[in-house]
Amino acid sequence: MSSDTHHSGISGLGEEVLGHTEVKVSQCYQCGKCSAGCPLSEEMDYPPSVIMRMLQTGNPDLEDKVLRSFSIWVCLTCEMCFARCPMSIDIPKMMDFLREKSLNEKKANPKAKEIVAFHKSFLDSIRFTGRLYEIGLFVDYKTRTLKILDDLALAPKMMKRGKLNIIPELIKDRSGVAAIFRKSNKKNKN
């Protein structure tokens, strides 16, 4: 069956999803229970069941829309959809894969800029210190997003309550952690 046929078997992106995550998009019969239970469904451009449907079509245009969607970034991996799915489809795992792919193909939704930036800042913090350095994370995140004013009031309050470390906690084997990043990133340049 050719990959451009609408309503084909599993093809295209769906097939990739299967290969990487064992999630078989054809199992979804569109009951919508995931979308009904998803806490972020209303903020999504395509709720989870619609994403599943788009992947089922094997239509390259729709697959592209999935990778460019805001949905995959606003998903919080709270696992509610997976917990209640009658077909036990691991949507969160699939979302992980779609995010990674979207990033690799530079298709991340512009509205998700802050979310992506936060994740990147977060990982950078670990990459360099081995642990999360919250001030560093905030500064880095704010530089990436230019959202200087947001949450500005929070930091001093946190500081006052002893919730922020001025100096990052460093682990000894920082090169080891950096190596993990290097090796894991071999395939995914981001």
């Binding site: 990487h20 806490p39 972020l40 903020e43 606003v74 919080l76 991996t77 709270c78 696992e79 509610m80 997976f82 917990a83 036990s88 691991d90 969160p92 992980d96 894969f97 995010r99 990674e100 990033l103 802050e114 979310i115 930036a117 936060f118 994740h119 990147k120 977060f122 990982l123 913090s125 670990i126 081995g130 642990r131 999360l132 919250e134 905030f138 995140y141 997003t145 947001d150 949450d151 929070l154 309050k157 946190m158 309550r161 002893g162 919730k163 922020l164 470390n165 906690e169 682990i171 000894k172 084997d173 080891g176 952690v177 190596a179 993990i180 090796k183 894991s184 990133n185 995914n188 981001n190």
Partner: protein, 280 residues
């Protein structure tokens, strides 16, 4: 006795009161919490959102270090870290090829022999059997036990409590003298990873949780996850502005609530660090 301890980043920073209360309660029962040497961040949501192998390699390093240190059981109070470590164990046990790839990346031996306990499991196993007679100041309040996502899901892997309407925190709080309420948002998501990047969503999601707790007369919300805590506590302004009212129900870690019941010092439990004043 000695248990392994993986605090994770939050417990060293924004949620240090959680660490303080865990250690205080452990100490009260003569349990030595041995921190894993040179531990690293588990990668949290960011890693598995961006890169699968990384999301497994980071937790695997932690488990390897624990093995190296001779620990057989590690307590992971942060629900997110607990979820990442448990999922990693599961994924690596299922797929030998993945295990090889990850151990190669880490350059550390990994056998999967360390068992991972979340805070409820730890309390259940080592504290509650000896709790009787130790409660000097029953935590006599109506409490809403909030489990969040990562303590109970995915059930296939974690196999902890039940997915819908879990009970383990409620049972613990009952033993600490509290009256747990039946409410509807025990396992709804607080917004977690979007805390910084999409505060508005957090206001809405956490708002529903705090709103329901208040409507049903809760005097405190009990949590077992630093992310839940920071969203429900630190983001209270966003929550209140979403709800259009001022709600000042405090949010306590389970270990803080138990600590109070044990009569431990409030400061030792880090209660002064909360944004929402702990008046209970």
């Amino acid at each position: 006795m000695t248990l392994g301890f993986y605090p994770g980043c939050s417990l060293k920073g924004s949620s240090r009161e959680y660490a303080e209360s865990v250690l205080a309660v452990a100490k009260a029962f003569d349990i030595n919490m041995e921190e894993i040497n040179d531990w690293n961040c588990c990668g949290a949501t960011a890693a598995h959102n961006m890169n699968k192998e990384l999301s497994l390699a980071l937790p695997a390093r932690i488990l390897s270090l624990a093995e190296k240190q001779g620990l057989t059981e590690i307590v992971v109070p942060c629900a997110a870290c607990y979820s990442r470590l448990t999922v990693t164990k599961y994924e690596l046990s299922k797929d030998p090829a993945l295990k090889t790839a990850v151990t190669d990346a880490n350059g550390l031996e990994y056998t999967g022999s360390v068992s991972v306990l979340n805070i409820v499991q730890m309390l259940d196993k080592y504290i509650t059997p000896n709790l009787e007679g130790r409660v000097v100041k029953p935590f006599d309040h109506k409490v809403a036990c909030y489990y969040g996502c990562l303590l109970v899901r995915p059930h296939e892997i974690l196999k902890f409590d039940r997915e819908e309407d879990p009970q383990s925190l409620d049972v613990l709080m009952l033993k600490a003298g509290a009256t747990p309420i039946d409410w509807a948002f025990k396992t709804e998501c607080c917004g977690a990873g979007l805390s910084v990047s999409r505060t508005s969503s957090v206001g809405r999601l956490s708002g529903k949780i705090i709103g329901d707790a208040k409507d049903r007369g809760a005097e405190a919300v009990i949590v077992a996850c630093p992310m839940c805590h920071s969203n429900l506590d630190m983001r209270r302004d966003a929550i209140n502005s979403y709800l259009g009212e001022k709600i000042d129900i405090p949010v306590l870690y389970i270990t803080q609530a138990i600590g109070l019941a044990l009569g431990l010092d409030r400061k030792a439990l880090g209660l002064q660090r909360h944004f929402v004043k702990v008046s209970v």
